[in-house]
């Protein structure tokens, strides 16, 4: 008896009871569908984070206080790094202070992220200009009330205004004049209203603080990153009067560090979600086994007839195994289509890069075939072991 004939037979059997076939394959469809969707989403968000961090530049060092929201870093630290004669591995330095504030323009009022920036910021962070100009050294020296806004802010606050430059907006009650508009820097498809003001204005006029949130340092090139990290670290310890590196009140992280951390986090998350989805595959497999056991019992007499007419064990095992595999294979295929469709919709909705790989599709289909074999073999063996005399008497 040829396998192709068994396949035809199985197709016939499965199409005879369409509803049951569909319901028993549903577990596999949902399982494979969700595994593909979650894997793709996980990989896509990881890709997105990686892209974003890498777009900041591989040479960037980020210095932040050891404690979140700490007040240990100052603008003086930034100038010390920039002016130091002993540091020969760095290119540019920029300090920022970031906080939320209430912003209003005309009748529109909403909260927005205010970033006070010192020179070099826009170049170092690859921010692109759409209209007007960036903030200058002059703006910082004079604590000018100039502001650069992002495109989201324009969309939300000034949808009907033609000329954005020179417009007056109020931040925490102080009037600022728009001098430039930048492109959005998206974070996971979500962009906030973002305003850039001179660092001195943010510190003295808006928020009344003496410290900065972050100092960015550009190393000369990627190969001196470690030296730069050490040199900057020792200088800051000296500045803060710290002897033991373990007592440091700041942390210096490179893009590589951040990348690694973020990758680890998203990887763990993806694995976890995929693992949960994989459990549903096992449940689906048990469903298949259950239905195959029912099928074997229901068709006891048929098995008896086949054995009486000369079917060997192998023929019976193959017949039921192929039926189970066909069930899970078809389920897996539908699951793949479902998963690819769903993840395409979702990655588009969150504007993530789509990363559905052929490998994961092939893997998913192989796994579903594997489930058919694992959960189909026991019922098939049970069928093959039936005693023909008893099976023929079965009503």
């Amino acid at each position: 008896m040829k396998t192709i004939e068994l396949l035809q037979e199985s197709v016939e059997v499965l199409t005879t009871n369409k509803l049951r076939t569909a319901l028993s394959a549903l577990g596999i469809i949902i399982g494979i569908g969700s595994v593909i969707t979650l894997m793709t989403l996980g990989q896509a968000s990881q890709q997105s984070v990686t892209d974003r961090i890498q777009s900041l530049g591989a040479n960037l060092l980020t210095i932040s206080p050891s404690k979140r929201g700490g007040t240990t870093l100052t603008y003086k630290d930034a100038t010390a790094i920039a002016d130091s004669q002993r540091i020969n591995t760095i290119d540019k330095v920029s300090a920022t202070y970031t906080a939320d504030a209430n912003v209003s323009y005309g009748a529109v009022s909403d909260s927005a992220q205010i970033t006070g920036i010192s020179e070099n910021f826009f170049i170092m962070r690859n921010v692109e200009l759409v209209e007007g100009r960036f903030l200058s050294e002059q703006d910082d020296l004079l604590s000018s009330k100039s502001v650069v806004v992002n495109s989201t802010f324009i969309t939300n606050f000034m949808p009907d205004t033609r000329n954005h430059l020179g417009e007056e907006i109020r931040v925490n009650g102080t009037t600022f004049i728009v001098v430039g508009v930048t492109k959005d820097v998206s974070s996971f498809g979500r962009t906030e209203n973002s305003l850039y003001v001179p660092l001195s204005t943010a510190q003295n006029v808006l928020f009344g603080v003496k410290y900065v949130s972050t100092i960015y340092v550009d190393a000369l090139n990627e190969s001196v990153m470690e030296d730069a990290q050490n040199q900057v670290g020792f200088l800051l310890m000296e500045q803060h009067g710290i002897k033991d590196p373990l007592d440091a009140d700041f942390t210096i992280s490179s893009q590589a560090d951040i990348l690694q951390t973020v990758s680890q986090v998203t990887q763990t998350f993806t694995t976890l979600l995929t693992g949960i989805a994989a459990i549903s595959l096992v449940v689906g497999g048990i469903g298949i086994m259950n239905i195959m056991l029912v099928t074997v019992t229901e068709r006891t007499r048929e098995i008896g007839i086949r054995k009486a007419l000369g079917a060997k064990r192998k023929a019976i095992i193959l017949q039921f195994l192929i039926e189970a595999i066909l069930l899970t294979f078809t389920g897996g295929l539908i699951g793949v289509i479902l998963g690819v469709g769903l993840s395409t919709i979702l990655t588009n909705a969150f504007s993530l890069p789509s990363t559905i790989s052929l490998v994961s599709i092939v893997l998913a289909v192989s796994v579903s075939i594997g489930i058919g074999i694992i959960f189909g073999i026991y019922p098939a063996q049970k069928a093959a072991k039936l005693n023909p005399i008893d099976a023929l008497r079965y009503e």
Binding site: E12, E302, I305, R306, L309, G310, A311, I389, L392
Partner: protein
């Protein structure tokens, strides 16, 4: 062709031993038409299972076409059933969802015969039972007699050594029963060996030889009157006495 020597079958269920067949001996030559009769519990079914290679005896010999069928594994028995035995069951045992043609082709599929030849042989077999116009019908669309003819066609398709019919007319009205027996007679005239197991006297009367089983032993083995040369075979004195006792009891 069939040779049975001291064949015994003992069922064990817990502590209780049931002897279904007790040292049965007979021979059936090629081309014979034999009926095996006996009351229920006489061991008819057990004998038919063993002769049909669905089961193996506890002790004794069963030689079919020179091959001893003892201690065979399931797959070897399946092969014997496929090639040597043509089964005809009381309840037809056709696959309910498959067409007449497919049912007839089933044993040939397991024998690995290629599709073309399968089809040709199935058509031949269906013609010989007069069902060539019903090849597309499924069993539910057929009468009992027609179903049994499909089963006969299926049994014929592999040209087996024996046609083994177990109460083939048990579920049929009288008219159709005679029709089926006519087919068996015709097949026997053509040279097929036919073995019918029945409890109906008029069905047994159609055979040339009748073996009567009582309590797992052969009570009588004789040629029917039709065959004129009536003679008794293989009956021991012990069996005769026992059988007479049973007859008296029944009266």
């Amino acid at each position: 062709m069939i040779e049975v020597n001291n064949l015994s079958k003992i069922y064990l269920s817990g502590e209780i031993k049931t002897t279904a067949l007790d040292k049965v001996n007979f021979k059936i030559a090629k081309g014979e038409f034999v009926a095996i009769v006996g009351p229920s519990g006489s061991g008819k079914s057990t004998l038919m299972h063993i002769l049909g290679a669905l089961d193996v005896a506890t002790s004794g010999e069963y030689v079919l076409n020179g091959t001893g069928i003892e201690d065979m594994d399931d797959d070897r028995l399946a092969e014997i059933r496929n090639k040597e035995i043509g089964f005809i069951f009381q309840s037809y045992n056709l696959l309910p969802r498959s067409s007449t043609l497919k049912n007839v082709m089933l044993p040939m599929m397991y024998a690995g015969i290629d599709k073309k030849e399968r089809l040709a042989r199935a058509m031949d077999a269906l013609k010989s039972v007069g069902l060539e116009d019903k090849i597309r019908n499924t069993p539910v669309q057929l009468s009992g007699g027609q179903k049994q003819r499909v089963a006969i066609a299926r049994a014929l398709s592999m040209s087996p050594s024996i046609l083994l019919a177990d109460e083939p007319t048990g579920n049929l009205p009288t008219g159709q029963s005679q029709e089926i027996m006519d087919i068996f007679q015709k097949l026997n005239n053509k040279g097929h060996t036919v073995l019918v197991i029945t409890h109906e006297d008029d069905i047994a009367a159609r055979a040339k030889r009748v073996i009567t089983l009582v309590d797992g032993k052969i009570f009588s083995d004789k040629l029917t009157k039709k065959d004129k040369k009536t003679k008794f075979k293989n009956i021991s004195a012990e069996n005769k006495i026992k059988a007479n006792k049973i007859k008296k009891k029944r009266k």
